[in-house]
């Protein structure tokens, strides 16, 4: 655990000492709750349509798949036409693309980024290595199946998938959301204990709160 995360006494600018325990003080670790759908079917359908038409990706390239993200956003395959945009901060993002294998070190960061996104949120597993390990099936540092640790809505197979495959994946994700099946966040909240157990089995030095908003 890093020293700045230890419980310590801090001397304020006004001279009086107070105790700081970063893991408790800096985060709110209230566990996630299942958020019910909106008021009526019609309203929810409208909302789902809006969600499906404006997908904001979290700009976090976790693996080699990130290399095909750039052509996706540039003249050849212009994903902006479909309402897909980058957001640099997880607070404003709806879609988390796990672009390739996840080493355990990155898995920790990915979990935190995912938990800071707002409900409803979606996860796309990109590449064979997120499905069953792919090329790295016998590696000691990468996870083998992503859906043990995060609720995955969609997988895009291939090593690595072409931008056309990504666009097709976005289209399928839109169908999912419009049908009202993009409930990954609620699924995460329901099976919270199970996900946490899986995550902690892999991440050996767990130096963050169980859930950080």
């Amino acid at each position: 655990m890093k020293p700045e995360l230890m419980k310590r006494m801090v001397k304020g600018p006004d001279g009086l000492e107070f105790e700081v325990e970063p893991l408790r003080d800096y985060y709110c670790e209230a566990p996630p709750t299942v958020m019910p759908a909106a008021y009526g079917k019609i309203v929810e359908d409208l909302f789902n349509w809006a969600r499906s038409e404006s997908i904001w990706i979290l700009g976090f390239g976790t693996g080699c798949g990130a290399i095909e993200m750039r052509p996706l956003m540039t003249p050849r395959f212009d994903a902006y036409r479909y309402g897909v945009q980058w957001r640099p901060t997880p607070r404003q993002a709806n879609l988390f693309i796990i672009s390739g294998y996840l080493s355990t070190k990155t898995l920790k960061r990915a979990i935190r980024a995912y938990e800071q996104m707002q409900n409803p949120k979606y996860v796309i597993g990109l590449g064979s290595c997120t499905i069953n390990g792919g090329m790295y099936w016998d590696s000691y540092n990468t996870i083998k199946r992503l859906d043990d640790y995060l609720p995955v809505d969609l997988y895009i197979a291939g090593c690595m998938p072409r931008p056309e495959a990504l666009l097709a994946g976005f289209m399928d994700l839109k169908k999912l959301i419009r049908a009202g099946n993009g409930e990954g966040a609620n699924q995460y909240a329901e099976n919270f204990a199970w996900y946490k157990e899986n995550q902690k089995r892999v991440i050996h030095d767990w130096d963050m709160p169980d859930y950080n908003w």
Binding site: G63, C64, I67, E68, P71, P88, S103, M135, Y136, S139
Partner: protein, 393 residues
């Protein structure tokens, strides 16, 4: 020797002469800021732990390992031909150098003579990959300073080059084309003129980039005189490639120790003199012109036909006698090398990948980042042209 370069905070945590901490985080004077891994201004999936005082960075630690897959371990578990598909995964934007270096290592230890045609095609592929990597760099360098349009143009040009890769090798990113003994296939019909069209497109893109980016007053204001690599750091920090060439040292493996067919090609390494961000970017821009010219030369000089694959033993029982060797090549970021040790069995005993980013992004970056403005961290990182996957493999 360490105190030759003050201020140097590589002795973490830095201590004053009286033993107290040089940077006292509890004093409230400093702020710890993590740039990355989830950060648009970082090159790939790595992170820099900045300690800032006001707007000035007083300490930077590079943290890598987010992309570690244990390649060097996985290679030890695979036969020599099974290694070949995974080596290219080591470095994503320019995978061909892994294939070439590994293939050359195996050929040298196994005593395989590569046909000449294969040599030429290998050189062609390496130069194409170099252009791709530089194109991504130009876009990243401009994007790090908020000039997004350059990234759009260069990525488009890169897409065209990826099309040539696709018709040559069948894949966009991971080509798996250069395998021990030669290359998989010869050039397809009409490849020359299609490549010529692509090169023309790239040249026009480069002209636009020069006008909009390199002649831009604001770009100059941000980059000229910023992030200078002192020439006395080159050897201690193992700086190679364009970073060294921008410091007026003509370090280019293609010239120093010609490999493949570079001794039959006619080119001059590009030299810059100011060694700041602007010069590094300019050296790489002019290096693209050199690569374009090299590709034209290769297509003109290469033999019309010939074997592209030397006979190799049955790959299922392929055993290589005990030995060790090191093969290096000049990739777009510097010296790229493979160190292969065999022990007479059917599996490599040890493979070590020497990526240029290994020295640039760790020791050199931590050294250079001290004392610069926090706005320039992203520009500085990009200007070193580092790719995390080859640091941690």
């Amino acid at each position: 020797m360490m105190d030759m370069f003050p201020p140097d905070r590589s002795q973490y945590p830095a201590k004053k002469a009286d033993g107290t901490l040089d940077i006292d985080l509890t004093s409230g004077k400093y702020l710890k800021l993590w740039q990355g891994p989830n950060h648009p201004g970082i090159t790939g999936n790595m992170s820099v732990e900045l300690t800032v005082c006001g707007d000035e960075v007083v300490e930077g630690k590079t943290h890598v390992g987010y992309l570690h897959r244990g390649f060097e371990k996985l290679m030890e578990r695979r036969t020599f031909i099974q290694v070949f598909p995974i080596v290219c995964r080591v470095c994503v934007p320019e995978p061909d150098f892994n294939e070439y270096c590994y293939a050359a290592c195996v050929e040298e230890l196994a005593g395989i003579e590569v046909p000449e045609m294969a040599q030429w095609i290998r050189t062609l592929i390496l130069e194409m990959g170099r252009i791709n990597s530089y194109m991504m760099y130009l876009g990243g360098q401009a994007g790090a300073l908020g000039q997004g349009v350059i990234g759009q143009w260069t990525t488009y040009a890169r897409d065209l080059m990826l099309d040539r890769f696709e018709e040559l090798t069948g894949a966009r990113i991971y080509h798996m084309f250069i395998l021990p003994g030669g290359v998989r296939d010869t050039l397809p019909e009409g490849f020359q003129q299609r490549m010529e069209e692509t090169l023309r497109e790239i040249e026009s893109t480069l002209k636009d980039v020069y006008d909009v980016m390199f002649c831009n007053a604001v770009f100059k204001a941000r980059t000229v005189g910023m992030g200078v690599i002192d020439p006395s750091w080159l050897e201690p920090y193992g700086v190679t490639g364009p970073n060294a060439r921008a410091a007026s040292v003509a370090k280019d493996v293609r010239k120093d120790a010609p490999y493949l067919v570079y001794d039959q090609l006619d080119f001059e390494p590009v030299i810059g003199h100011d060694s700041d961000i602007y010069t590094r970017a300019d050296v790489r821009r002019r290096d693209i012109w050199v690569s374009v010219d090299l590709i034209r030369q290769i297509l003109a000089k290469m033999p019309k036909d010939g074997a592209v694959m030397a006979p190799i033993p049955n790959v299922l029982h392929w055993q290589i006698p005990r030995g060790e060797t090191y093969i290096r090549g000049e990739c777009s970021r510097g010296e790229y090398g493979y160190y292969l040790v065999t022990d007479g069995s059917g599996y490599p005993r040890r493979i070590n990948v020497r990526g240029p980013s290994y020295t640039h992004a760790m020791a050199l970056l931590e050294r250079m980042i001290v004392g610069i403005n926090i706005s320039d961290v992203a520009a500085l990182m990009v200007s070193l042209h580092t790719y995390p996957p080859e640091i941690e493999r």
